[in-house]
Amino acid sequence: MAVYDRRYRAYEGPLTPVSTRWRVLPRHAWTGVFKSRLFVGFFTLCFAWPIAAAVWIYLHYNLAALANVGLDNVQLAAVEAPFFAAFMGVQCFALGGVMTLLVGPGLVSPDLANGGLPLYLSRPLTRTGYTLGKLFTLAALISLITWIPGLILFLLQAWLAGWEWFVSHLWLGVAIVGGAIIWIVTISLLALATSALAKRKVIGQTFLLGVIIFGTVAGQAVNEMFGTRLGFLFNLPALMQSVWAALYRIDMPTMMSAPVALATLLAICGLSIGVLSRKLRAFEVVK
């Protein structure tokens, strides 16, 4: 219909499958996110460290290239589990954390503040679909700077080191992907939950930062006051460190066993889902 023909008319074309409707949310959210120059700059910066790591791996197997530029007798550290753990630590905790702070709190709070939820939920989109769409928006962005470059580096190392190394280090590939996914799911759900509680992006960012920092400080205080190690249960970085130490099979100072840390992370995820389930409603009952 031409735009000048102003009539109310029916739509008789094809419809997309209901199971794919949640994908509309991340697609439109990414369009909004990448409009920010600050975010684009940060996102580009996130690939500096993976490129540096790739160059490191390449040089490790091509020391002659260093000799060509006059750097003889250079010893590069082995590309093993500690190398990948250090790489993923920077990508997940530092860069992934900043990305979560930039994107996460703005995902749900504007919809709650501007009454957007009834518009979504009156359509063929469930609350689960809505949450999945929002979760995927953030999780996909963090994945692009964490386990995806990590896996590419792992495959690069395997290509240069040979088939035997690849077979004997498959567990490392699982650790890279699995460790990052545990972090991404936890931090993304936490970000969505704080966003749903805050109703304003800036407050959500402060709240999320507060949960992480306050949890760490409060945990330390509990440990000091009561002489226990239970305070580490509130310390998100310490929990992740314990899980990663087990996954990467490296000696790291850990505060608790990996199963306890994993169970605590699951509890944090469960709590976040509970908050989302309570807050993400098409209507608000005023008591």
């Binding site: 735009v3 074309g13 094809p14 957007g116 009834p118 009156s122 359509r123």
Partner: protein, 311 residues
């Protein structure tokens, strides 16, 4: 034109925290446009939310064109358009992207959603403003954007919650015209909730009045209007007793209210011209003759006066 479907309420009841909000609503709503009326807190928005599947009924059920709303059937939700009462938009989006996204969530492929988003915004009169972000819209423009997102996927049932809220007279007239056009297209059944009787009177052919969570009245407005045309108020000069007697001779029911004023109820067989005839024969002067007006207001007030409403 296809005949509209039916919205069936079958003993519908909704409770919040044990407190009944809607009780025993039973009706078959068949009109092209159904007005939901009632004082604040009567349960209009709760009924709309229940029909949209936001609230789970505590008792009974509601069927939209044969589909139970409690089943959460995506096919049914795809047939529904909703314009909420309060502010409702997605922050940081232009109008066209907002409406396009809502179309896509309703199931339109991206290209079709974009095309229909442009059409819908043109249709509601936001064509020139469609590349502006929604935050910069005036209240009236936001109302029109909400209507555009509600109709982008061409729903079969359109729920409008207080569509003229906060609109100035020209914007209100525009909104009413759009709602009437959609109604007259026959492609969507409209449920319009409002506390403004005039909105309902201008747009709807059926009305459902709620009072304290119950149906106080449900009926066809046109039939009510036709019935009310038989209520006549006359101001006359001359012997009103004699005129009343002559009118009663025709079968009218008369009441004298003094100062030459007579109220009459005409039976089906008697026309207004018969009153002029007996006035001419008896040499009485009819100086003013009014049909009873504000039929919806009367319906509403009667429904509010009666303890259990009027069914």
């Amino acid at each position: 034109m296809t005949s509209p479907g039916t919205i069936e309420l079958d003993g519908l009841g909704v409770r919040f925290g044990g407190r009944p909000i809607l009780q025993g609503l039973t009706a078959s709503l068949t009109g092209r446009a159904i007005g939901l009326l009632g004082p604040n807190g009567a349960g209009k928005t709760t009924l709309l939310n229940t029909l949209l599947g936001f609230h789970r009924p505590a008792e009974g059920r509601a069927l939209l064109h044969g589909d139970d709303v409690t089943q959460g059937d995506p096919r049914l939700r795809g047939k529904v358009g909703y314009m909420p009462e309060s502010d409702a938009f997605i922050a940081g989006m232009t109008a066209v992207r907002f409406v396009r996204m809502m179309g896509e969530v309703s199931g339109l492929p991206p290209e079709a959603a974009l095309e229909r988003a442009h059409e819908s915004l043109q249709y509601v009169g936001l064509g020139e403003a469609r590349y502006r972000t929604l935050e910069g819209f005036s209240l009236g423009m936001k109302q029109l954007a909400k209507l555009a997102q509600a109709i982008v996927h061409a729903p079969r049932i359109l729920f409008l919650d207080e569509p003229t809220n906060g609109l100035d007279p020209p914007a209100r007239a525009r909104m009413i015209r759009l709602v009437r056009e959609i109604r007259d297209s026959g492609r969507a059944q409209i449920v319009l909730s409002s506390h403004l009787l005039r909105d309902v009177e201008e747009c709807c052919d059926e009305v459902l009045v709620l009072k304290d969570g119950r149906i106080a009245f449900y009926g066809n407005l046109e039939e009510e209007r036709r019935a009310n045309r038989k209520f006549i108020h006359i101001e006359m000069k001359g012997d009103e007793h004699a005129f009343a007697a002559a009118a009663e001779g025709l079968g009218c029911t008369c009441a004298l209210v003094g100062s030459g004023r007579v109220k009459l109820v005409l039976p089906e067989a008697v026309a207004v011209r018969d009153l002029y005839r007996i006035a001419a024969e008896g040499r009485y002067q009819i100086r003013r003759l009014d049909y009873k007006r504000d039929s919806l207001q009367d319906i509403f007030l009667k429904a509010m006066e009666e303890p259990r409403g009027r069914l």
